[in-house]
């Protein structure tokens, strides 16, 4: 039995997902995808824009079910919403009509904690992400980076076994982005959930992950898997990217990805109809 069947492990076995788009056409988002994520492993998924990377996350979360094949989380086939999972989207999923504190305390509240206990727990996490002074602010009153930190606290407060991240930092400017990457790693070290981190940025993927999965242009399937054996804790993301091992990995992954990116680009400009769809 592999580690993927333990708490927090994820395994995809020849998973295909098709959608019917509003025009009634059948689109294949991902085709015959197979990979595993060991418990506590940080796995990055890179691929060309719109190739169906995000579909792997919604399938893991149980927001959607595969057309063929099976998705197993902690050894159990996903059927309905997966328990013990948190999701971070590209757009903030903070509720704009609730204060930062109320937003972060939602997780424990839904788990059945009393309001007071949930808020105490939320205050703990806000202290951890350095937002104690802003607990009564509304999300629109915070900067983009602060909103991301609040989102991370909201996602991690239930101490999920799995953290799913869909290009969570891609809307931030470059500097804020690398700061957020550092903070994410620090938070991740505390509880060590398994992570599936979708991005189109190879540098971000290598700096954060233990394993990088490269997907093909849509319909997406796994093209190659690279193990990142840089030591942990990694330290500042801004510095690690100049190390020779990092550069070598980056070169190898890019050579695998480039073909797919060009393929996807030609298709999007050449107008050849194909099963490209990313919900």
């Amino acid at each position: 039995m592999s580690g993927a069947s333990r708490q927090g492990g994820i395994s995809f076995t020849s998973v295909t997902k098709r959608f019917v788009n509003p025009k009634g056409e059948v689109m294949t988002a991902i085709r015959d995808v197979a990979f595993t994520v060991e418990p506590g492993q940080f796995c990055a998924i890179v691929g060309p824009t719109g190739c169906g990377k995000s579909t792997t996350l919604t399938l893991t979360a149980g927001l959607d079910s595969p057309s063929e094949g099976s998705v197993r989380v902690s050894g159990q086939t996903v059927d309905g919403l997966t328990r013990n999972v948190s999701f971070m989207f590209q757009a903030d999923a903070l509720l704009p009509w609730k204060s930062v504190l109320a937003n972060v305390s939602l997780g424990p509240l839904f788990r059945g904690y009393s309001r007071a206990d949930a808020q105490a727990k939320a205050r703990d996490w806000l202290r951890t992400v350095g937002l104690s002074a802003f607990e009564s602010h509304y999300p629109h009153q915070l900067s983009g980076g602060m909103r991301k930190r609040a989102s991370m606290a909201a996602a991690l407060i239930n101490e999920p076994a799995i953290l799913l991240m869909d290009e969570p930092f891609s809307a931030l400017d470059v500097q804020t982005r690398s700061i957020m990457s550092n903070e994410l790693l620090q938070l991740w070290e505390r509880t060590r959930p398994s992570v599936m981190f979708v991005t189109h940025d190879i540098e971000e993927a290598i700096a954060l992950a233990d394993k990088v999965i490269v997907m093909t242009a849509g319909p997406a399937t796994v093209k190659a898997v690279y193990d990142v054996d840089l030591p942990r804790p990694r330290g500042p993301v801004q510095e690690i990217r100049f190390e020779p091992a990092f550069l070598e990995l980056q070169r190898r992954i890019w050579s695998a990805l480039r073909e797919e990116v060009e393929h996807a680009y030609q298709r999007s400009t050449g107008g050849a109809p194909a099963g490209r769809s990313e919900p």
Binding site: A61, L81, R83, S86, A93, L95, K98, L106, G107
Partner: protein
């Protein structure tokens, strides 16, 4: 060489007023000018009206006069009307409009959220709602007077129906336009369906609903007054109808003025409520100064 020289002190001489002060003074002057303009318009219009009737250029019998209106109102407030004190007529209308508003808003929100959340119901009910909405709903007032009599209930019903449709359509649209990401996220956090409605759907639809409340409040007052027109024992609508039947132009204008003041204060109250309920929203970039 000149570039390396220390710059002269940038501090302005104390005598010169700062830009902030100049701006403040300019804004103050403008506010005063606007206020003066408004008062001038009022004085000119009322003055011309009063003068016109005094000089018999316009017939005070049909058009009333400002002084006549004031005297008529003073008489009503001190001596009452044929059907009880004037305050009681005002209160009756307020009561009807308020009850109608509450009933209409609550039912509109409940039905709007329900249909927005359950597409099957929306598809089934859709055509009927369109048909009823296309009817001139004011005529329902006649039916309600027949059904419910001359008392409070028929006016409350008419006001509620007018309010319902405004609120319903906004609540429905509001629910339909909820950010699906927020719903997915909160479901993953472990929210039940009811918790999703309570924490995401309703608050998100709230800004739509609140936008409709301004219009709805106006409709509530219209519903109450038209209902009283169609048949009532008390209320400002009855006061107007009676004044009209006795060719009392001053009476019609006087009651109109009272209704206008009523609507304005309700509007001001509504603005306060809106500010409280939507405190979480970022201040809009270009908020128009005088909202209708």
């Amino acid at each position: 060489m000149s570039e390396n020289q220390p710059l002269p002190s940038p501090r302005p001489t104390p005598a010169a007023p700062s830009i902030a002060e100049i701006n403040r003074a300019r804004a103050r002057r403008r506010r005063q000018a606007v206020l003066f303009g408004r008062v001038a318009v009022l004085v000119v219009v009322l003055g011309a009206w009063q003068l016109g009737t005094a000089l018999k250029w316009i017939d005070p019998f049909f058009f009333g006069s400002p002084l006549g209106i004031v005297l008529r109102l003073a008489y009503w407030f001190t001596h009452g009307t044929a059907y009880g004190s004037f305050w009681f007529q005002i209160w009756t209308t307020i009561e009807e409009a308020l009850l109608g508003f509450i009933v209409g808003v609550l039912s509109g929100v409940v039905v709007g959220v329900l249909l927005g959340e359950v597409p099957f119901l929306a598809d089934v009910a859709g055509p009927y709602i369109k048909v009823v909405n296309a009817l001139p709903r004011i005529v329902l007032g006649s039916i309600f007077v027949m059904w419910l009599g001359l008392g409070l209930a028929s006016k409350v019903m008419l006001a509620a129906v007018l309010v319902f449709f405004v609120v319903f359509f906004n609540a429905f649209e509001g629910v339909r336009s909820v950010d699906r990401n927020l719903v997915a996220n909160i479901r993953i956090l472990g929210a039940s369906r009811l918790q999703v409605v309570r924490h995401v759907i309703v608050p998100s639809a709230m800004s739509w609903i609140i936008a409709s409340l301004h219009v709805a409040l106006g409709f509530a007052i219209i519903g109450a007054i038209v209902g009283e027109f169609l048949g009532a024992q008390h209320g400002l609508g009855l006061v107007i109808a009676t004044a009209q039947n006795t060719f009392d132009a001053n009476g019609v204008f006087g009651a109109m003025l009272v209704i206008g003041l009523l609507a304005l204060s309700a509007e001001a109250l509504m603005a306060q409520v809106e500010k409280r309920l939507l405190a979480w929203r970022p201040a809009p970039a270009g908020e128009p100064a005088g909202r209708a």
